[in-house]
Amino acid sequence: MGNFDRSMSLAGEPPKALNMGQKLAVLTGMTGMGILILQLFNLNLGNSALWLSVAILAIFAGIIWFSQAAYAHKHKGIKNDGVWFKSMSSRGVLAWMAGVALTGFYIVLYFYPEYLGLVKDGDNTGLIALFDPLSKALSGNPASQWFVYGTLYTVAILAFGAKFIWKYRHNKYEQLRTVSVMFFQTAFAFFIPEIMARLNGDLPYYDLKNMWPLNYYNFERYRVNGFIDSGSVGMTMLLFGIISIFVISPFLTYKYGKRWYCSWVCGCGGLAETAGDSFRQLSDKSKFAWKVERWVVHSVVVFVTLMTTAVIYSYLGNDTSKYWLTKTTFLSGVAVILTAVFAWVMIYKREELEKDAKYGAIGYFTIIAVLIGMHFFSDSGNIFIFKAETLRSTYSFLIGSIFSGVIGTGFYPILGNRVWCRFGCPMAAVLGFQQRLFSKFRITTNGGQCISCGNCSTYCEMGIDVRAYAQKGANIVRSSCVGCGICSAVCPRGVLKLENGPEKGRINSKDVLLGNDVDLMDLVNKK
């Protein structure tokens, strides 16, 4: 037989091709999706509760069946065969189609919910109407586009979470982490807020695991009023929101790194790690991308800090007798906190920051200058020439909708699953800052065992060039690392381990690796 009659089969060859079980599973899942899509065209299927259940069950069953067909007959271990051959996971036609469809969905969701069937005064129609029975059962209210989105989001995390657990069934860390995100999404993001709304109608929707600056809107006037008006439950929630930022998250990040949030609790992270798992290898690992990442994500932090300050400032009064917190006290408070953090970092952690210290200083002084400016040049409605509300709505549009939704999730199949977390999330940046400077977490490199194969870097969803550290024998201490643990899982030689240890010696650059002449190692590494 000649060796060059390459198969022309369009269905592809193993490991690219789907087996029969996978094909049937896709059909099942797509049937569920089909029901939802039909609803978009306002086909009245009749019993909404029934059809919604059928649709969601079909999607669920399809994904689980697919996983079973993909992994059940295989041994425990790494399941990356054919990742770069499959259209879906290597930016092929399917990936672009999925990307366009997802992006389109987000645009409609954020900006044209009426196409989904949202009716402001009156009964919903279309897709949203299909979700009415479920929403009424939970909170007592008709569904909104956000309820539809939240339900589908939770279904995705649960079903693809099960797939992920199957895929990594040899790896306890991955399994536990996934169970955790599945739990937090279902309980904290989905059920609890709906039920709280039923119990207490005045309480604003509050996903307790979301904290500022991720929920940048948390301290807006209507929410703060809502909390305060709801008595002790509301006050507790408001307080919890503040403690989360200043106490809980720094403490947990110190002990475990930012992974406790980003890959164990967070909803955005939850979707990325489950539904987005097939796209983790698409993140850009170049040094240039890292540079862009640092500029963009830290600019978002500056933006969200200023925006939130401006929003709170705008609704505070000037009279101390009416309320203890006034415009001036608030601004000074913000300035004091920022100065304390800045001073602490510059005094104790300056060397670790190296060149970035300069950029940190630029960011800090920008904010302080604006705060001072706010004090002198603003009145109650305006911050400089802008309305606080304009700042807020700009942030909400650019960052909250376009970045985190349309680009962040819509572009999963093209840019990878953590684009939002890496380039846009201010929460991740703040936690990352702590992780880099004030945490016990690191990924330990195991002596001289690295063979530079590149699996770790390729499968790092945050685009960290893990290998660059591992092949130097250096630990990986990077602010962007979300601690998903996949680098350690895919390493064929057992070189990487996520762990929390003493801060001393956490960052350890080496040029000559363990295994060589001890004198040489001393000579080169101690310089």
């Binding site: 060796n3 060859e13 271990g77 306890k172 001289g448």
Partner: protein
């Protein structure tokens, strides 16, 4: 400015170049006919399996070389003239050097089998071999069966690669049990089982007699020494590697199987050095072989020679032996020396533990009389390199290793740990009463 010319852009040559650049402003040129940029040879398999694209197995971005003023020449050196310090390349050009480093690596062994040069018969070492395999075995329709000859690390990798495309594989292994010239019996037996689990047709104690051609000069079957004819489209020759030094035959450089070097990695000719797979020590260092075709030793030779070339003469002086590999789904690490029954000394005794269900086991080698710890093989358990390195340096005995074994574990968090069972078996086998100590960060990080 002194011109350093390195032939070969593998891990040895590239490590050398990087370290010279850190230490000096010398002009550095790397010549390779294999690839434009450095790539990780050990990762070639993952390209065929679709885990990575070729660009992913290149450890440095393409701008790296220019930025670090490392000149890359794409060419094949045909002749080395040591008297005029000149290299003649296949394309007719020539290149002068002040110092020459031979880092040309290996090529697959061929033992004169009839039919070994037929089409469809190949080794798996170079980028070109990978490209050839992609042509020879793109899928199980073009390649109905592959036969792999030689039960070593490359053989099992090749089997894993082909299985990822669901190509039936017959695996001929000369030994009575897989890799038992290196692995002790228990481990070798476990890997035999694992190979079969992966539906690889493992033929132990079986040699290749000849490869039969079809009318077009392609391999169509192999004949084994058991008289069996196995039809196939691809034959993988993976019976070890040999230094890739044919081009040095008439250069006057002393050759054995490899390029003969002393501990400073100098050849018999002034200003000519050799490192990596192709270098052959006059005598093996410690228990090491004179030729070490291992990623890590190539890197270490590069690290050491850079010092010598930059005015700080430094012997190649490797520390405690370590290595790693992966057999299908089972990771393997070794620290210190654990010899197989075939090659171990009488004073070396083994302690073996194997998990009742999972493919997990360890073997600890100790001195029968002094109970000094000599080395450990681990399968399916990750261990800390630093800790074992330290224990070997301190000449610890096995009791110490067992007592502090939990410190050495490097498995991911939340993994089920097996130290208690291991130590219990050790206590039973050696009639001891050791209580394993709890893992201590303090001990672990005072070392690392």
């Amino acid at each position: 400015m002194e011109h350093i010319v390195i032939i070969g852009n593998g891990i040895s040559g590239v490590t050398l170049a990087r370290h010279i650049r850190k230490l000096s402003e010398k002009r550095i040129t790397i010549i390779s006919a294999e690839s434009e940029y450095f790539f990780s040879r050990t990762a070639l398999m993952y390209v065929y399996m679709g885990h990575m694209k070729f660009e992913h197995i290149q450890p440095y971005e393409n701008w790296f070389w220019k930025k670090n003023r490392i000149e890359l020449v794409n060419g094949f050196v045909e002749k080395v003239e040591t008297e005029t310090k000149k290299l003649l390349l296949k394309d007719g050009t020539s290149l002068s050097y002040d110092k020459l480093i031979v880092a040309t690596g290996s090529k697959p062994n061929k033992f004169g089998w009839p039919g070994q040069d037929l089409k469809g018969v190949q080794g798996l070492y170079s980028k070109q071999d990978l490209e050839m395999l992609e042509k020879n075995a793109p899928n199980n329709k073009v390649c109905n069966r592959a036969v792999i000859v030689g039960g070593g690390l490359i053989g099992i990798e090749m089997a894993e690669m082909l299985r990822s495309r669901e190509i039936p594989v017959t695996f001929l292994v000369r030994e009575k049990s897989f890799w038992n010239g290196v692995l002790p019996t228990g481990e070798s037996a476990m890997i035999n089982e694992h190979i079969l689990e992966h539906h690889i047709d493992l033929r132990l104690d079986t040699n290749l007699e000849k490869i039969i051609a079809d009318d077009n000069g392609y391999a169509k079957a192999v004949v084994t020494d058991k008289g069996e004819t196995i039809e196939c489209n691809v034959v993988g020759l993976t019976a070890g590697v040999t230094p890739n030094i044919d081009f040095l035959k008439d250069s006057g450089i002393e050759l054995g199987r490899g390029v003969k070097v002393n501990r400073f990695l100098e050849t018999n000719i002034k200003d000519v050095y050799a490192i990596g797979d192709c270098a052959e020590q006059h005598e093996g260092i410690g228990s090491r072989r004179p030729i070490e075709a291992v990623w890590y030793t190539g890197r270490m030779m590069g690290e050491a020679l850079a010092q010598t070339l930059c005015g700080n003469p430094m012997k190649y002086n490797p520390g405690h032996w370590f290595n790693s590999a992966k057999f299908l789904d089972v990771e393997y690490q070794t620290y210190g020396w654990v010899f197989s029954e075939r090659s171990k000394k009488d004073t070396e005794q083994h302690f073996h533990w194997r998990h009742p269900v999972e493919k997990i086991c360890i073997t600890v080698a100790l001195n029968k009389d002094s109970h000094q710890f000599l080395g450990i093989n681990t399968f399916g358990i990750r261990m800390r390199h630093e800790i074992f390195d330290q224990w070997l340096t301190e000449n610890r005995d096995v009791d110490h290793v067992m007592t502090y074994l939990k410190d050495a574990n490097f498995d991911p968090e939340f993994y089920k740990l097996h130290e208690d069972e291991i130590v219990a078996k050790y206590n039973a086998d050696f009639n001891k009463n050791i209580n394993p100590k709890k893992k201590s960060w303090k001990r672990i990080f005072s070392i690392a």
